[in-house]
């Protein structure tokens, strides 16, 4: 049923953009926790888009790692720091203006580039088989895969060292 998937694309894309907007520029709340919650929703919407692109494994990882682990970390830090007093600060028009200008420039360039680009010749066809992905990860990309585990270890050590209380 091609029509349903088309509708689902528009739905997920719209949700992702809406939640993204609410995450970075929520007119009702500047609480970081609100931003974090909307980021979770954006990520879930993106996972939906991934499924539409037949990247099932990545969609699962996206939800597990991002919406799960990473966002918990964010929330944890937000609560640890207790940042409510910064909410009282005034919004500066200049900051918003310059930010919007820069963003408009980049967005304009990107979209113009997308429109100007020649459409791809091939039709959508590749099924993002999890099995195939796994095979690729453990054959062609074995070394980067293992290096990545090392990177995670190093990151862990670094985090422990950084957030350790200074003993003075």
């Amino acid at each position: 049923m091609p029509v349903l998937t088309d509708l689902l694309f528009y739905a997920f894309a719209g949700l992702a953009l809406l939640f993204g907007l609410l995450c970075v520029a929520n007119p009702f709340s500047r609480n970081p926790i609100t931003s974090a919650m909307f980021l979770v929703l954006t990520i879930v919407s993106l996972a939906g888009l991934f499924i539409l692109l037949h990247a099932f494994f990545l969609a699962a990882v996206q939800v597990l790692v991002y919406a799960g682990a990473v966002m918990v970390l964010f929330l944890f830090v937000i609560m640890l720091l207790d940042l409510r007093q910064s909410e009282e600060r005034q919004i500066r028009i200049l900051t918003i203006g310059t930010g919007a200008l820069a963003v408009a420039a980049i967005a304009g360039i990107l979209i113009r580039a997308v429109i100007a680009a020649k459409p791809l010749a091939s039709s959508p066809g590749l099924a993002g088989e999890t099995k195939a992905l796994g095979r690729l990860l453990f054959t062609q990309y074995l070394l980067p895969f293992e290096v990545m585990s090392l990177l995670l270890l190093v990151g862990m050590v670094g985090v422990i060292l950084l957030s350790k209380k200074e003993t003075e």
């Binding site: 930010g99 820069a102 420039a105 980049i106």
Partner: protein
């Protein structure tokens, strides 16, 4: 064995032996501060061993290769090549260098032995022997060098190591000053020397002695109008090292060093280096006179003429000054100057053979005299004023006899001393070069020499003791007397060998060398060969001796200051050379230095350096106001930059 391979083998053997002679003192000098110096016995055993081995090898080198005409030449090692300048490292093994090797290592060995007692108890015993070894190494480097640049390098090394030795007792301000003076005075000469080297290289394109000799042989006008200038510039280097007027002022002051060092510097090494170098490059000095432009129209003298006159004047002035000195070492120092003047004069009179002959004999008896003086000084509890001595012959018989032999040799007593023969060779060369005035100066100086040496001997060794320390004088034991006795032997006999004629044939291309063939011929050679010099010299020696005896026999004070008045004062003040340097040269130098100091401080440091840094600093201060420190500003600028770049790239 065919002749070619025989030569090759000989040359490689000669090179190897020469390298050993050269490097042994360096190795010993290096090993002393690296640990050997912990033990005194090991220190001097090592140092003496190195130079003594050097001496034995030098003698073998001379016997094996000294009789080869023109010397043995091996292909030198390439060192560096900058533009047209190709430098090589090589050793010359020929009659001249092996003869000089024997002199240097021989005297050095004896000085080392003497020092073991003289320096006994000194706090810096190992440093002394290390410096001595380094000094010997540098001197050997000059002797063996086969090109001008290598000579210059070792030349400077001799300068540096002499600084270490003269200033050995650097706690004494006078010693430190003397070392500095020696070093700086030599620097003036060295400046001329290197200019001369550059001049010669720019014309000939090589600095190798053999190549230079060949080039100048085929084309004596290679340097054009600069010929004589190059000779004089190179001679300037010798003027510094061999202490010729007016660069002689460092040498008497260098007496501040330990006495064995004086013996080594004055007899066989540093001061001899200048004369040796002149002999080495004699082919450069011997070219016909040629001056640039206006000087030529004035009829400029040849380089050799200038050299001869500087030598003659040095020998005369130093002889005069020596008459009124009272410090035993200073008298000897001025006598060294005077004798060096002789040698330089001989080179200037186209007699490098005579100069080397005198250098060799002088090395022996001057070393003898200095070591004798060292023995006296040690025996008299470091008393150096001859008027505080007297009657030493009773208490120090060995030293007295050896010193007498040395004195006789320096005066040139006929037949029984070596000095007679070498001095006569110099007179003969002055006559042969048709320079009667210089000949007269030479003969006169022989009389002066007798006068001041007889004065020294009469006052210090004969008569009655005039001080407590002289009354308790004593010999200082075998290590000090043995070198004296050993040196006394060649002081007497060396003149009987035809060294001059032999050198002339082997190294200076003399056409008809003259060898005496019977014993009487040997002994009376000067009377047969150049009777005028021999007879006149003898006459003046007798006259000088007579004057000395009449003035100083049993004298307790010097009668000359009364009778001579201002002349004596002038001589005592060393003819005001130091005063002139202090009053004229030093202020001018200070003024120039102050000018350059101002330029440096205001123009270079102030405007260029501070101005440059100030401008950069100002711009930096201005630019840092642009910084906000706010990460979002940077992010904004970054994004704008990326946008601009992407737009440009997509166009």
């Amino acid at each position: 064995m065919d002749p070619i391979s025989h030569t090759a083998v000989a040359s490689s053997n000669a090179q190897d032996l020469a390298w050993v002679v050269l490097l042994f003192p360096l190795i010993s000098a290096a090993s002393i501060p690296l640990g050997v110096g912990r033990s005194r016995a090991l220190t001097h055993a090592m140092a003496i061993g190195a130079v003594a081995t050097g001496f034995v090898l030098s003698v073998s080198l001379f016997l094996l290769f000294g009789f080869t005409k023109g010397g043995i030449h091996a292909t030198p090692l390439p060192w560096l090549s900058v533009g047209g300048l190709k430098l090589q490292i090589g050793l010359t093994v020929d009659t001249l260098s092996t003869l000089m090797l024997m002199v240097v290592t021989g005297i050095s060995t004896l000085v080392h032995v003497f020092s073991t007692r003289y320096m006994d108890g000194d706090r810096d015993y190992p440093r002394y022997f290390a410096s001595l070894g380094l000094f010997t190494f540098s001197m050997l480097g000059i002797v063996l060098s086969d090109n001008l640049v290598q000579t210059f390098i070792f030349w400077e090394l001799v300068g540096v190591t002499s600084y270490l030795l003269v200033g050995f007792w650097h706690e004494k301000p006078s010693a430190a000053d003397a070392a500095k003076k020696a070093f700086l005075t030599n620097r003036i000469g060295d400046f001329g020397f290197i200019l001369g080297i550059i001049l010669v290289w720019s014309a000939a394109g090589t600095v190798q002695f053999t190549d230079l000799a060949a080039k100048f042989h085929t084309d004596p006008r290679l340097l054009g109008g600069l010929t004589s200038l190059a000779g004089v510039l190179i001679f300037l280097g010798a003027m510094g090292k061999s202490a010729q007027v007016p660069l002689h002022v460092w040498l008497p002051d260098a007496m501040e060093g330990p006495t064995p060092v004086s013996a080594l510097i004055h007899a066989a090494t540093m001061v001899a280096a200048g004369v040796y170098m002149l002999c080495r490059v004699f082919f450069l000095l011997d070219l016909p006179a040629a001056w640039p432009g206006f000087l030529a129209t004035l009829g400029g003298p040849s380089a050799l003429g200038i050299i001869a006159w500087v030598g003659g004047i040095t020998s005369l002035l130093a002889g005069l000054i020596a008459i009124q000195q009272n410090d035993i070492k200073r008298i000897l120092a001025y006598s060294t100057l005077s004798q060096l003047g002789y040698m330089v004069m001989a080179v200037g009179c186209a007699g490098p053979d005579a100069a080397m002959f005198h250098l060799t004999t002088h090395a022996c008896f001057k070393a003898l005299l200095f070591l004798g003086a060292g023995s006296v000084i040690a025996g008299c509890h470091h008393e150096q004023d001859i008027w505080q001595m007297g009657g030493l012959w009773k208490r120090m018989p060995t030293t007295s006899i050896c010193f007498a032999i040395g004195t006789a040799a320096l005066c040139g007593l006929p037949i029984v001393t070596s000095g007679f023969y070498s001095k006569d060779a110099i007179f003969a060369s002055a006559l042969a070069a048709d320079r009667p005035v210089l000949f007269a100066v030479g003969v006169l100086v022989a009389g002066l020499t007798t006068l001041y040496m007889a004065r020294l001997y009469l006052v210090a060794f004969l008569g009655e003791p005039r001080s407590e320390s002289a009354g308790h004088a004593h010999e200082s034991g075998t290590p000090m007397t043995l070198p004296l006795v050993i040196l006394a032997l060649p002081s007497v006999t060396l003149g009987w060998l035809p060294i001059g004629s032999f050198l002339k044939e082997m190294s200076f291309g003399g056409g008809h060398p003259h060898y005496p063939d019977s014993i009487t011929d040997i002994l009376f050679d000067p009377f047969n060969h150049s009777p005028l010099g021999a007879v006149l010299g003898l006459g003046l020696i007798v006259f000088g001796g007579f004057v000395a005896v009449s003035l100083y026999w049993n004298a307790t004070v010097d009668p000359l200051p009364k009778t001579l008045g201002w002349v004596s004062t002038a001589l005592r003040s060393r003819l005001f050379f130091d005063a002139i340097f202090d009053r004229v040269v030093v202020p001018i130098h200070d003024a120039i230095a102050a000018l350059f100091g101002l330029i440096d401080r205001w123009l270079l440091q102030g405007l260029v350096v501070r101005g440059g840094s100030g401008a950069v600093d100002l711009v930096g201060r201005g630019l840092r106001l642009v910084q906000t420190g706010n990460i979002q500003t940077y992010g904004f600028l970054f994004v704008i930059g990326v946008a601009v770049l992407v737009i440009l790239a997509l166009k």
